[in-house]
């Protein structure tokens, strides 16, 4: 079924390969930026993907890319389709889709705060979302080192031992190995 939808859209929007996952009815597909809105509109209005489950980002720091994932859901047919879009990491400006799904505004606000991806035109996008009084770089960027930040901000309690859970449990459970 997903394949059928993919076939219908593939040529018109120059989609990437369909990435079918293990779970039935879940698939991902890459697309180019200029086709984002047409594809989303088409999926929403024609193919029945009426629900935006989430909009999230992945920091592919090695590729100098942010990947935005728009996960859509078709309630009738129980299909989940993820659209993956890659943005230039140094010029992280996404296209707002709050007019298609009002909830997207919230996601975009979160992405703006946590990844520093701008969504011009999205309502209240520059307001604080979860963080309060944050002045450092967006914390979900991979070049933000949370441990280092934590060390530099909060002193460890003296005598606290930190172990690698994997090593620690191995020692306890299989002391012989």
């Amino acid at each position: 079924m997903m394949q059928a939808i993919y076939d219908r859209l593939k040529d018109r929007f120059q989609l990437g390969a369909l990435d079918v996952r293990s779970r039935k009815g879940l698939a991902f597909v890459d697309l180019r930026r200029e086709f984002l809105r047409p594809v989303l509109t088409e999926l929403r209005d024609v193919e029945g993907f009426t629900h935006l489950i989430l909009l999230t980002a992945v920091d592919w720091i090695e590729d100098e890319r942010f990947q935005l994932t728009y996960l859509l859901n078709n309630r009738q047919k129980n299909l989940d389709l993820g659209l993956r879009l890659r943005l230039d990491r140094n010029l992280a400006i996404g296209e707002t889709i709050h007019d298609l799904w009002p909830t997207a505004a919230t996601y975009q606000r979160e992405l703006r705060e946590m990844f520093g991806i701008a969504f011009p035109g999205s309502p209240r996008v520059d307001e604080e979302f979860i963080l309060e009084g944050w002045t450092d770089m967006p914390p979900y960027r991979r070049d933000f080192d949370t441990l280092a930040y934590s060390q530099q901000t909060h002193a460890d309690r003296e005598g606290r031992e930190t172990s690698d859970p994997r090593e620690f449990m191995k020692q306890i459970l299989y002391p012989k190995d």
């Binding site: 309060e132 080192d145 441990l147 934590s150």
Partner: protein
């Protein structure tokens, strides 16, 4: 084991701007006169906290302390997963009421602040404000390892590690999370401490006010309240 980027330096230079509603503003009065409003001065009491002396007579103070110990009113404020562990205390199985413990909805009437779990910087601000709004003598109990050393959030950029740096903690109850029985045991310990006259957290806070404030302001960059929230 996690790597740490040796080159990472946190941003210490950027100042967070004052909140809009707290900036001094000019207002036109009904008579057309323009007056200056300084919200922090005009709307908040700027007095620092005071150190309160114990009663002159020891016997009175002992009696008071006994009453304080036997009448612990907990502020109904849950900061983390520990909030869940408090609920069973009201049930027939644990029945904390028989120890004179009860929950109050307003900080004005409560005298025990339970920090029930991890405390993000954002929540810390609320916790400080709430603590300061409680009337002394008042007690703070940290619940779980998160309040002790950060617990499983030890490497989080946004969670404090040592509660006593920010609030005068009377007692930690270890565990992740501590069970209700542990809480009850903790309350008993607290009572002993109060009865012994050692639970002077409020006075300690007032004495070392500057130190506490410095610690608090070091993590809370958008300090948008008076130094002491009466």
């Amino acid at each position: 084991m996690k790597h740490m980027d040796p080159n990472f330096r946190k941003d210490t230079k950027t100042e967070f701007p004052q909140r809009e509603e707290l900036k001094p503003r000019k207002v036109t009065t009904p008579d057309g006169q323009v007056i200056d409003i300084e919200p922090l001065q005009d709307y908040f009491c700027q007095e620092p906290p005071k150190v309160h002396q114990k009663s002159y007579f020891k016997i009175v103070e002992d009696f008071y302390n006994w009453c304080r110990a036997e009448s612990l009113w907990i502020l109904a404020f849950g900061t983390g997963c520990g909030a869940i562990e408090m609920r069973p205390l009201m049930t027939p199985r644990f029945d904390a009421y028989r120890y004179g413990i009860q929950w109050r909805a307003t900080p004005r009437q409560a005298n025990l602040l339970m920090i029930s779990g991890y405390l993000s910087v954002k929540t810390l601000k609320r916790a400080i404000r709430t603590y300061e709004q409680m009337q002394g003598p008042k007690y703070v109990v940290g619940l779980g390892s998160c309040t002790i050393n950060g617990g499983m959030y030890w490497d989080s950029y946004n969670t404090i590690k040592k509660l006593e740096e920010y609030l005068p903690v009377d007692l930690y109850i270890a565990g992740c999370m501590p069970r209700p029985e542990a809480l009850l045991a903790g309350f008993m310990e607290l009572k002993k401490k109060i009865k012994a006259g050692n639970a002077e957290g409020a006075n300690k806070y007032a004495e070392k006010f500057d130190w506490y404030k410095a610690n608090q302001k070091a993590v809370i960059k958008d300090w948008d309240m008076p130094d002491y929230n009466w």
